[in-house]
Symmetry: C2
Subunit: 195 residues, 2 copies
């Protein structure tokens, strides 16, 4: 592929990710229609499948971007904070709650995208995920300086999943819906226990 | 409504819940078709909407049944167990993981059913939910004998949501998927911290 063609393909990929992201933010994953994307991007329908293997790959690109945003946001939330590790975990979790409440559709898309067990998770996706997890394993390694790497990894996933569960069910009133202030209390009650 | 008519309506409701439950277990929430239900129940399509206000109400009935099963299963898992409260919470959580792994579609339906914020959550549903939560608040009140009722309720929801999050993301490989044995470790790592 010549440099010019590659650059054009990359520009189209970017544009399609922008458009899909905006549509998911507005109406959720299921509202994305390839035909609309092509129209808005000013390309032929087939060009989408030249830029991305399928719509699933396009959604993964949007989700990867959201994961990176989350990682950056988590890091920024404690950037200038002088506080112990538990307190920093709580601050990051509250930032996570804020992100989920304000970007509910983009946030849900990260978890609602169904993948068959045969699908390969792309490497860049795992990198974005690892970047997000590093924000948690840092403070955790201060709480548990002697913990081995594998246990630290499991504890990191355990806490991320826990906070995710509290935010998820807390934002949905039919299971355990409570006002956002209560969600914050539930998060800090849990994270203060980690010692 | 005469007693006979009411009994017939109740029998049809039961049959429809049975059929919807079986279909959800097989193919998930989205696979349920009113036309198929009517055919299998041997009734007219309109009779479904005489028995239930809408399909949403039917799904809620299935989910309520699943919640009750979960509550009973949680209670049974620690029935003959002589162990401290943390250990009992861990045993119940492992039962929850087992249920989710074996009845994934029914379990997901409890959380995937979308409800607008205007929808009323029926009282019997909240009762089933409270029954499930009681299994958690019991051991918790042993760990925190002096905790006030509101904090105990929030801590109960916090832990249920946490274990749910660990099970949910653990069973899905793209986020934090790990083998079931690791999911158990993640659960017990967290619950041993509660003190």
């Amino acid at each position: 592929m010549s440099g010019k063609v590659a650059a054009r393909k990359e520009a189209l990929r970017e544009k399609l990710v922008d458009l899909a992201e905006a549509q998911i933010a507005k109406g959720g994953l299921r509202s994305v229609k390839a035909r609309d994307l092509a129209k808005d991007a000013g390309c032929a329908l087939g060009a989408i499948y030249n830029a991305f293997e399928d719509l699933q790959a396009l959604y993964m690109a949007v989700n990867g971007r959201t994961f990176r945003r989350l990682g950056i946001m988590a890091a920024q939330s404690v950037e200038d904070v002088q506080a112990g590790p538990n307190e920093r975990l709580i601050i990051m979790s509250e930032a996570y709650l804020g992100f989920a409440a304000e970007n509910t559709n983009l946030w849900r898309a990260m978890f609602d995208l169904e993948m068959s067990t045969d699908d390969e998770v792309p490497d860049w996706y795992l990198v974005a995920l690892a970047g997000l997890f590093e924000n948690i394993s840092g403070p955790l390694s201060e709480i548990y300086p002697d913990m081995d790497a594998e246990s630290l990894d499991l504890m990191t996933r355990s806490l991320f999943s826990s906070v995710h569960g509290i935010v998820l069910l807390g934002l949905e009133k039919r299971i355990s819906g409570v006002p956002p202030e209560k969600i914050k209390i539930m998060i800090s009650m849990l994270l203060r226990q980690i010692s």
